[in-house]
């Protein structure tokens, strides 16, 4: 797993600023040093977090496209709704704070779910504690997108839980 991240970092560096002629030794050395540094940081953070990054199994990558489609559709719908709220002749908000269960098994999955909620305009995650999110929503419709649990299931499916 950790080696997978190392490969990913190396690939990102190669594609962004890699030397395209073999003779740029200095640039290549900088690349090796920066990849090694970021990877070391990742390993330290992973260890501090209890090393539960098993979320990133190969099968998760296979399920990623489907998740991205669901993600894009939900973010688009939330954007249209929030745009309507913003452009309405009279601003009418019914803000609310709700507790929402995060049923993901890994902390990575829970963080992904929390960020998913924050990214959809109209809802934002205030806190994550004891497998529960504190979600602030602009109105009933924004809130319903979270409360119906469909986003929770999207992340669960990516995590490899029951479909």
């Amino acid at each position: 797993m950790r080696l997978g991240v190392l490969a990913l970092l190396a690939a990102v560096w190669l594609s962004l600023s890699g030397p395209y002629t073999v003779h740029e030794w200095l640039i290549f050395a900088f690349g090796v040093v920066s990849v090694a540094f970021v990877w070391r940081l990742y390993v330290a953070l992973d260890r501090a977090a209890g090393g539960d990054s098993e979320f990133f199994r190969a099968s998760s990558w296979l399920r990623l496209p489907r998740f991205l489609v669901a993600f894009a559709l939900k973010v688009a719908a939330a954007n249209l709704h929030t745009t309507k709220l913003i452009l309405a002749p009279k601003i009418e908000l019914h803000t609310r704070l709700r507790r929402v269960p995060a049923s993901q098994k890994t902390s990575f999955g829970q963080v992904l779910y929390a960020n998913f909620i924050t990214l959809t305009p109209g809802t934002i995650t205030l806190d994550l504690r004891d497998d529960e999110l504190l979600v602030y929503a602009l109105d009933a419709e924004s809130e319903a997108d979270v409360m119906d649990g469909s986003m929770d299931r999207d992340v669960l499916r990516l995590e490899g839980g029951p479909d």
């Binding site: 594609s15 973010v75 745009t83 913003i86 704070l97 507790r99 934002i124 602030y136």
Partner: protein, 113 residues
Amino acid sequence: MNGALDIVTTVLLVAGGFFCVVGGIGLHRFSDFYQRTHAASVTDTAGAGLMLVGLMFQGGLSMVTLKLVLVLAFLLFSSPAIAHALVKAAHGHGLALELEIEDEPGRDGDAAG
């Protein structure tokens, strides 16, 4: 660059620009800090996302497009982290939320917080 791709790019860039402006309008029209973070996230997601996808059509299957995809990916990781940090800091320091509905207030809040 052929015409159809240019049209797709133009439409996406204009749409992205529209959502950036909407985010800006929302920032002004909404009344408190927490509501305004929602307006800003319209700019972060729809605005930036549509513009980057529009530019990808100009890049075609190339290094440029790969970099645009990475820019979008980094943006999608960083913007919720920033929004969460801002809102959590405001909440933690006691900036009041105007709420119509609050879930089971104080159920475990004071003990844990």
